[in-house]
Assembly symmetry: C2
Homo-oligomer: 164 residues x 2
């Protein structure tokens, strides 16, 4: 399906700046989409344990707010408000922390995330790309545990959706 | 027409952070659109004289590059590469310098611009909003001559289009 996406494709991947998680998961694309786009579902899987998602706001349109509050076991809160850039129902979400609601620039930025899903047998081919402004930010994201973290969150998504 | 815009509307205006230029100009909306979206036209009007536009690159789609190089009479160059966020043909362009091509975060950011046009008699109602991250950035933009600068550029657009 990728060829008909009119927004962000693999051609934009820059190995010196970007990180990618690519997996096939045994969950239908429409359920992955639902888990990503409805706050009451997202809070169940978005943050790798033992942290959790304390709050989530979603205004699912380009320029709409995407806010998450992650909470450590000790109660530390990480509050991030960004916005959506691309919303292609059932196929792709792009969001960033470089811009807030209504595309207003934020004071600081770390990444733009591109989540692309497509049917794969009975499941979903899931590709998550994190795009950074510099090799240093990419390395910092690697050091924070990008692969394990985003992989664990995806495992949590699958486990949660399987309870439906 | 504003009510059917699915993207950025007046409801997003924040007087403490944003600046607005609103005018009716005696040029049809399709010509304003053409002047804004084709590099060979944009270079003729985008930068208030005596500065000029030394170069322009346009990839007119969300996430596509929007680069301008402004040049002072003394030859100083101001090179800015951002990207488009919204492209609604004939009606609205939103772009930012907080993100580069493919929505990659930029190292620094100053503003997001929202250009909205609609038919008004034989001409165009033209609304340009500059959105900033802080009151300080808004004030800095005012001090740089926002109103005169964006107004002069619009005058240049009208004068240029009238030579077609």
């Amino acid at each position: 399906m990728t060829d008909s996406l009119n927004t962000v494709t693999d051609a934009d991947f820059d190995a010196s700046l970007d990180l990618k998680l690519e997996r096939v998961v045994p969950v239908a694309p429409e359920l992955v989409w639902k888990a990503w786009t409805e706050p009451e579902h997202l809070v169940h899987w978005f943050t790798p344990a033992p942290w959790k998602t304390a709050a989530c706001e979603i205004d699912l349109r380009p320029g709409g707010k995407f806010r998450t509050v992650m909470q450590s076991p000790e109660g530390e809160l990480v509050d991030s408000t960004g916005c959506y850039l691309v919303v292609e129902p059932g196929r792709q979400i792009v969001f960033t922390d470089a811009l807030g609601p209504a595309f207003r620039p934020n004071a600081t930025s770390f990444m733009t995330a591109v989540i692309t899903i497509e049917p794969h047998g009975d499941g979903t081919r899931y590709v998550a790309v994190a795009r950074h402004k510099s090799p240093e930010d990419r390395q910092s994201h690697l050091d924070m545990g990008f692969a394990d973290g985003w992989g664990s969150a995806l495992d949590q998504l699958v486990a949660y959706v399987n309870t439906w």
